[in-house]
């Protein structure tokens, strides 16, 4: 901390007062997040929400490997149905960790290996199509697949393999290349899921680094910094849902909707996945320890956040009953368009709570310059 006395002595004669300098120094100190120990809140988030979400993702990814193994061994209506149901569960499992784009997700491009989106020029999709059309046998081995582009080994590659127009016929045929490729993808996803969980868990895991932030820790010097990471990630997730996964897909008017811009449109899991994103954020901030760190004026913030998120989830759930996905047509009905457009409003409100009000209430000023490098 800078000594206020030194500043005061030197500049007493100038226009700035000692008091102003000291206030400047104190403000800075508060903004660093050192004032409130947020470790208990972080512990609750990591142990109660984040690591269980990764555990679940590992579980459902392993289930999907088994389901696709069964499909390849005995392709029929039931095994295909199970593989697709398993995929739906897998996508939901991923949607509940999607917000955690930092930490272990940044190792070896794991996030993009799982979810290469947006794929703006369909570069990834074209590679997936190429592998299937050319029956590239090197893609049948999960180890060799890992060496290929990140775009051909994740959830959207599996979405295509299981649900594009030709999938039904291909996958019902014994010994199909497509099934072998789908199996290799599912194994890659399961391996990545396992690595993510391993890196989050254990005494030296990322979760413990967040919980035990300190000057000697490699990533977070204070619990405030760790909390800022979570607030920023949660807010970013809601913004991506609002701007990219909803607004950009539905357009201004129902007739302008371009559903193929949505991830998982082929498997009709677009809105379900958004729900998973929001449910995860809701769970993160639903713990008891958070409210305990807030003063009376801000005690209701977690409730306000929950209200906004619930509003959005309800509108999305209602809309999903009216949206026909998995079809190559554009446009959307007026009713679901209206509901989804409405959902962006509470998502905006929730992101604002996370970015500004909750951050400030916890003594964390997310810096103007430090928020987002450029």
């Amino acid at each position: 901390m800078i000594g206020c006395g030194w500043f005061g002595r030197r500049f007493l004669g100038r226009s700035m007062s000692v008091l102003a300098f000291c206030i400047a120094a104190l403000t800075a100190s508060t903004a660093s997040g050192d004032e409130i120990d947020l470790s208990p809140v972080l512990s609750e988030m990591v142990d109660g929400v984040i690591i269980p979400a990764y555990e679940k993702f590992v579980e459902v990814s392993e289930d999907e490997v088994i389901a696709i193994e069964s499909l390849c061994a005995g392709p029929d209506e039931d095994t295909l149905k199970s593989a697709r149901a398993g995929f739906a569960t897998l996508v939901y499992g991923f949607s509940r960790i999607e917000a955690m784009r930092f930490g272990p997700a940044r190792e070896e491009n794991r996030f993009e290996r799982l979810f290469f989106w947006p794929d703006r020029r369909s570069r990834g999709l074209r590679q997936v199509e190429g592998i299937i059309q050319e029956e590239d046998t090197s893609a049948l081995d999960a180890g060799q697949l890992a060496e290929k582009s990140v775009a051909v080994q994740g959830l959207l590659a599996l979405d295509f393999a299981l649900s594009d127009d030709e999938a039904e016929e291909d996958l019902r045929r014994k010994g199909s290349f497509r099934c072998g490729y789908a199996l290799a993808i599912s194994r890659r996803i399961a391996a990545t899921a396992k690595n993510l969980l391993a890196d989050w868990s254990g005494p030296t895991g990322y979760g413990n680094q967040m919980k035990n932030a300190g000057p000697d820790q490699p990533v977070y010097r204070t619990s405030g910094e760790a909390m800022q990471e979570i607030l920023r990630s949660a807010s970013e997730m809601l913004t991506i849902d609002r701007d990219f996964k909803i607004a950009r897909v539905i357009g201004e008017h129902a007739g302008e909707a371009k559903l193929k811009r949505a991830p998982f449109w082929r498997s009709s899991l677009w809105l379900r996945a958004i729900d998973g994103n929001i449910a995860f954020v809701e769970a993160l901030f639903a713990g008891n320890t958070l409210a305990a760190k807030l003063d009376d004026e801000n005690k209701t913030l977690p409730k306000e956040l929950r209200f906004e998120l619930e509003q959005a989830r309800k509108a999305i759930a209602d809309a999903s009953e009216h949206v026909e996905l998995g079809v190559a047509t554009d446009g959307i009905g007026d009713k679901p368009h209206g509901l989804l457009k409405y959902a962006t409003v509470p998502l905006h409100g929730a992101a604002d709570i996370l970015e500004s009000r909750l951050s400030q209430a916890l003594g964390l000023t997310i810096g103007f310059n430090s928020l987002d490098g450029d």
């Binding site: 800078i2 400047a24 930490g103 810096g367 103007f368 310059n369 490098g373 450029d374």
Partner: protein, 364 residues
Amino acid sequence: MGGKAVDRRGFLAGMAGFSLLAVSPALADTGRRMAFICAMKDREGYGVAALSASGEILRREPLPDRAHGAAISPDGETAVILARRPGRYLGVMDLTGRMPFKIRPPRPDRLFYGHGFFSADGKLFYATENDFKNEAGVLGVYDTADGFNRVGELSSGGVGPHEAILMRDGNTAVVANGGIITHPDYPREELNLPTMDSTLAYIDLASQKVTAVQRLPKELYQMSFRHLAEDAHGTVWIGGQYHGSPADVVPMVFVSRFATGVRALSAPDAVFRNMRHYVGSVAVDAGHGRVATTCPRGGVWQVWDSANQNLIAERRVIDICGVAAGREGFVAVDGLGNFREGETVLSAHRSVAWDNHLLSLNNI
């Protein structure tokens, strides 16, 4: 990663760069003369301000959106302020006060990346731009005498150009191509992190040819070159932004020469860790032989010796970013409204957040 420890002696020596000296009478006498330009946000929204040497706001122009970097014309009469990516305006500020502030949009299929520079004769202005349809980086060329009309463009020598500067030879441009593809459909989303390819490009402006493209070793492929400054020895100093694992301790400051390529500087691991994988601004104080790097995410800034390229000192300042050479050493601003010379806060505008880059009018 190795590196010399920053010992107490070195630290004190470094303070000369930070300028702990009393404010000189000369500086105090500058009165209401404009000395710096900086983008800002205040209660009225986004803007750009002209500041006195003591941090007094002498002029403020409103901006439609957040700005980023700026450039000053060789005659010191014009400042150009560029929107933050995805940038949709370029602002022209006549510092003589004769002409009103002017805003112009980019070409419809281009977006500004936040930086630019004037040609040595001041007749042209070059802006780093995103040719987003072709996922290519370009330098848009503007005629300063004709209302900053766009008169052409040239390749930036890579993808995602960020800061570009004119070297002291008056003809060589150096561009920090960040290597990251972005598109206005997904504002601020980085679309190619697994395959990003950052380069430092040297461009001969007379022939409009890219004369050298420099890269870091493969293991640092997720390092994005962002900010640049040339020292008195003709060495280009580069601040990076790292997109790999947050646990990685990697060098964040680099130097380049046209003939010998780019290399990482060494410093204690703790120094690079404190930078939190982002260097927001680089400035050279040629008079004192110092280079400053600021790291807003880490809330730290450093001073380096430009001759031997050793780290001299590191200081902690929350949300610090804009930095420029002042008359007595480095001047830096932060997101909390502080304007400081060295460690001395000269002005504090509580309702103002100073943005990424501070430009000195004395250094033109």
